[in-house]
């Protein structure tokens, strides 16, 4: 770096180098913008880096790690600059992005100034408090994904997964592929909202209808449709298997055990509506417990600013009010990716391309005539409809609610 970045003015600072941020950085840089991406990880790519799924149509693999490397290369080739190992902790109108370097090395500028800022900070996991959850060996399902697929270290030798959703099933499979003994998947403790067998299957069943291809992949060639059939039936079976991994559809976690680290887990049988069956508690010997309780959009950076928020369970939590072209109520402030709703990496990438169109238009960066942001917004709705992988089937309803709030608010503040 020839000039310290702190004294330079950027056209765009992107906070978060996941698929949304990297795509936007690439496109705005390609349109001639001066772009800087900051990310607190040691490598760019965000959650994409840890993803590994089998494609339902042709059995090829979705290797997030390779896609992340490519995304970074493309953004750099387009002229975007990057700083890793840095946390953005403050935003001041005008715009100033305050930075800190928690590792105490790889230091850099204390702040960046920019005409536009894109918040693309992604999503984080919703905690699942339960007795013993702070013991070493008890971790989120996302930590298990990162350890297994990125760092190639087994989360444990014998692992219990708690919580049944698209993510936990996918990651259980990834652990099994890597040689981990995944001894089973059980339901969250009964105190966790919506954790009963009926509620869990109620969430999964519509997805099986909307995305049969995904369930084919999840169920695997060997197991056929037994699980999907279980979803459709009124009697919930005790256990079904996926790739040989038992899914205990009527068993819930009670507590995680151990003194210095996890040595076991206590589980209990539950009725369809989640009432524990007295006397059915038993202990399982495991050295790791992976907790899956859904994802929440991460956007606390915007909370200090004068910008309205809206709660939407369809989107996974609270999100800043924004337009369908991903503009916020604040001039020069944009949002894209899981920070405004939990969705797959493919959608995050499309949102990155869309927000880039808005930024390019607003900053007057390129006169090249291509797709407008308004057209891009319509394409995104179409893409969502054909997506084979959804965290929540009602995600578009959530986005529509945000759009109505945007229109009622009269757009930019």
């Amino acid at each position: 770096m020839s000039t310290p970045a702190g004294t330079e003015a950027f056209d765009l600072v992107v906070i978060g180098g996941g698929p949304a941020g990297l795509t936007a950085a690439r496109d705005v840089a390609a349109a001639g913008g001066r772009v800087m991406v900051v990310d607190e990880n040691h490598a760019m790519g965000g959650k994409l880096r840890g993803q590994l799924h089998e494609d339902p149509t042709d059995s090829s693999w979705w290797k997030g790690w390779e896609l992340a490397e490519q995304g970074e290369k493309d953004a750099v080739a387009a002229g975007a600059r990057m700083i890793t190992d840095v946390v953005a902790w403050g935003l001041e109108p005008g715009w100033t992005v305050r930075l800190t370097y928690p590792a105490g090395r790889n230091g850099g500028p204390s702040h960046l100034t920019s005409r536009a800022v894109l918040v693309a900070t992604g999503a984080v996991e919703r905690p699942m408090p339960v007795t013993g959850w702070t013991l070493p060996g008890a971790m989120t399902i996302g930590a298990a994904q990162v350890l297994t697929n990125i760092h190639r270290v087994k989360p444990g030798r014998r692992v219990l997964v708690v919580g049944m959703d698209v993510l936990s099933l996918t990651i259980a499979r990834a652990m099994q592929l890597a040689g981990v003994d995944v001894m089973g998947i059980v339901l969250p403790p009964t105190a966790v909202e919506g954790s009963s067998p009926r509620a869990t299957l109620g969430r999964l069943a519509p997805m099986a209808k909307l995305a049969p291809a995904m369930y084919m992949r999840l169920a695997g060639r060997f197991l056929g449709w037994s699980w999907v059939q279980a979803l459709a039936s009124r009697l919930i079976p005790r256990t079904v298997r996926m790739w040989g991994i038992p899914l205990h559809l009527r068993t819930a976690l009670v507590a995680i055990q151990g003194t210095d680290q996890v040595t076991g887990a206590v589980v209990v049988n539950v009725t369809a509506d989640g009432t524990p069956v007295a006397g059915s508690e038993r202990e399982l010997a495991v050295d790791a417990v992976c907790l899956a309780n859904g994802l929440i959009p991460l956007n606390e950076l915007l909370a200090t600013l004068d910008c309205a928020f809206l709660r939407s369970p369809d989107l996974g939590g609270t999100v800043p009010v924004h337009s369908d072209t991903l503009r916020t109520q604040l001039d020069g402030m944009y949002v894209a990716g899981n920070t405004i709703g939990v969705e797959s990496a493919k959608i995050a990438e499309k949102q990155g391309a869309l927000v880039a169109l808005s930024i390019i238009e607003d900053l007057g960066l390129s006169t090249r005539r291509g797709c407008t942001a308004a057209q891009g917004a319509l394409d995104l709705v179409g893409a969502r409809r054909t997506m084979e992988f959804q965290f929540d089937v009602n995600v578009q309803r959530g986005h529509d609610k945000v759009q109505r709030a945007w229109e009622t608010s009269g757009g930019p503040a």
């Binding site: 190992d85 013991l135 190639r152």
Partner: protein
């Protein structure tokens, strides 16, 4: 606990960075966070909670929860799930008074 010969993903480069944790020597793969190196060697407990003295280890794995914090060279508190070691680093659960 290392995963070798993964059926889908390519192998990672070999170990090459030496560091210590609570005085014990370990070898990390270049760029991997210390918590991953330690787990690969069967070490899960990274520190104890200041008040109750309860053990703590990796929880979120993505830098969000700060449960994994350790001291780097007795000088800075870092998140072990994000921070890679550089040659000769000393990581400790506690800071020692100097």
């Amino acid at each position: 606990m290392r995963i070798v010969g993964h059926p889908v993903l390519p192998d990672l480069p070999a170990d090459e960075v030496g560091f210590t944790f609570n005085g014990e020597p370990y070898t990390a793969r270049e760029g991997e966070p210390v918590a991953a190196t330690l787990l690969a060697n069967g070490v899960r407990k990274l520190r104890v909670s200041p008040v109750a003295g309860e053990p703590r280890g990796i929880y979120c794995g993505i830098g969000h929860c700060y449960e994994c914090r350790v001291w780097l060279n007795n000088d800075t508190q870092v998140r072990a799930c994000l921070t890679p070691a550089t040659e000769g680093d000393s990581f400790t659960s506690e800071r020692t008074e100097v």
